[in-house]
Amino acid sequence: MTDWKALAAARCPDIPSDAVERIVPSLEKLEAAFRPLAAQLTEDVEAAVVFTNVAGGER
């Protein structure tokens, strides 16, 4: 499992340590629920991210 405190210190040092302390339990629960789901994926499953090759979009 991820060491969220170490990750935050390395990647987002602007997040104060007390703020990290508060969010770690939520991230741990989320990761514990997500890892077994991701482990079921087979290589043929494509991501549902949309790319549209047209002009336009947000101004």
Binding site: R22, I23, L30, A33, L41, V50, T52, V54, G57
Partner: protein, 451 residues
């Protein structure tokens, strides 16, 4: 008052659009100190648009059933020249120089904008307890939340300030306030209503839709705001047929999930839901037990997608930590720590789950669930207590309880509506879910369930 009724009265010259706007403004100003449903009230603009609607009527120009009807926009729909805050201090002074697609269409339909409604900061939460613009309050009990994030829109419709209001729904944000405030809230199929010019939160999950007093009114608004828009990359080509052809529930296959949606539901909601199923059956619908493919897993997938997308969008403001409310900042911080691989895998799981849900539609035409397992929580309440099997209580975060039955539907992009489930006490909602692009049927069934 209902759009349908007002549209008739306007055409019979029983009332004018200016009179409707004046009455709407009177109610808004009277309720604003108690409910705080609006961030901006557009008095002058409303009267100008109402006069235009009356002039058009006088010339015989009829732009459809929304002409002259008072409405409100959640304050993340950009409106040229009218401040659009997104409920955040970051955009407190943002005055757009263009209109979002929905406002373009509603102006073309002759509807009359009364103002911009309050919301949870950035639409990133379900309480509408906004640290910058104040808490929006529930018209049925002002000590309680209206739900969110479209809380101001729900309160404004439920309190009769406007005939309809627009909301956005990323993880239940139209359906939740509809359930807690006692009105109708419709989330269309993803891609049916243009997101152009709205402030995004989680682009692949954001849906725009109406909040109204009846399902028929929602259908009227959808006819005006739906349709392809080249400026929105997710917009779907082709118009939906809004004629469902259904005038009774006879023969309708109503899927009733055997799993997930019956656990940890408060007795008032469970009882009202059970009564609704009986009404549907008595009206000729068949109740079909179905197994909903893992909504709990889809909720997890949805949270990872939302946190990743929202944090990516707001990354440019990460040096303004003091300007965000504590709850939103905590979510943005979490999203910054998630890995790109987790986001991609969540989107891959989304594809997989969508495929599994496709099979459900061979068994059922629509699915009924409660919209939320609880009634509107008190402002400031953070946990719901549930009786566990061992007779001890266990707490659940109010935000997770509130979104438990609705978030998965955003991940799947399906149409869903919440309609009032009970007539007395605090409101609760019946959620009716349909297969993709079956929006007309969902609203038709909702209308028949309203009676």
């Amino acid at each position: 008052m209902k759009i349908e009724d007002l549209a008739r009265r306007l055409r019979a010259r029983v009332v004018s659009a200016v009179e409707l706007a004046q009455e709407s403004l009177r109610r808004i100003h009277a309720e604003q100190p108690h409910l705080n449903a609006f961030i901006t009230i557009t008095d002058e603009l409303a009267l100008t648009q109402a006069r235009q609607a009356d002039e058009d009527f006088a010339k015989g120009i009829d732009r459809g059933p929304l002409q002259g009807i008072p409405y409100a926009l959640k304050d993340l729909f950009r409106t040229r020249g009218v401040r659009t805050t997104g409920g955040t201090k970051i955009y407190a002074d943002h005055v757009p120089d263009y209109d979002c697609a929905v406002y373009e269409k509603l102006r073309a339909a002759g509807a009359v904008l009364m103002g911009k409604t309050g919301l949870h900061e950035l639409a990133y939460g379900v309480t509408s307890n906004n640290p910058h613009y104040g808490a929006v309050r529930n018209p049925h009990d002002p000590s309680r939340i209206p739900g969110g994030s479209s809380g101001g829109s729900g309160a404004a419709v439920a309190a009769g300030m406007v005939s309809f209001a627009m909301g956005s729904d990323t993880g239940g944000s139209i359906r939740i306030p509809a359930a807690y405030c006692g009105c109708v809230g419709f989330k269309p199929t993803y891609g049916v209503v243009s997101r152009y010019g709205t402030m995004p939160l989680g682009g692949s999950l954001d849906h725009m839709g109406p909040m109204t007093q009846t399902a028929r009114d929602s259908a009227l608004v959808m006819r005006a705001i739906g349709g392809f828009d080249l400026r929105d990359g997710s917009s779907v080509v082709g118009a939906l047929n809004w004629e469902s052809g259904r005038d009774s529930l006879k023969g309708l296959r109503v899927g009733v999930p055997e799993n997930f949606y019956g656990a940890r539901v408060c007795p008032e909601v469970a009882d009202a839901f059970s009564q609704a199923l009986k009404r549907a059956e008595a009206a000729g619908a068949g109740l079909i037990p179905v197994r909903a493919p893992d909504p709990e897993a889809i909720n997890v997938i949805g949270r990872i997608i939302l946190m990743s997308e929202a944090s990516a969008l707001m990354e440019r403001y990460e040096d303004r930590r003091a300007d965000f409310g504590a709850d939103v900042l905590a979510l943005l911080d979490q999203g910054r720590l998630l890995a790109a691989a987790d986001y991609i895998n969540a989107q891959r799981l989304r594809t997989k789950m969508r495929g599994e849900w496709d099979a459900v539609w061979s068994q059922a035409d629509v699915i009924f669930t409660p919209t939320a397992p609880i009634l509107a929580p008190l402002i400031g309440q953070t946990e719901v207590e549930w009786q566990a099997n061992n007779k001890e209580t266990e707490g659940e975060d109010v935000r997770l309880a509130t979104t438990r039955f609705v978030r998965a539907i955003n991940v799947l992009g399906l149409p869903a509506v919440s309609i009032p489930l009970k007539k007395s006490g605090l409101p609760a909602g019946l959620q009716i879910i349909g297969r993709g692009f079956d929006d007309a049927r969902v609203l038709a069934v909702a209308g028949l369930m309203e009676g």
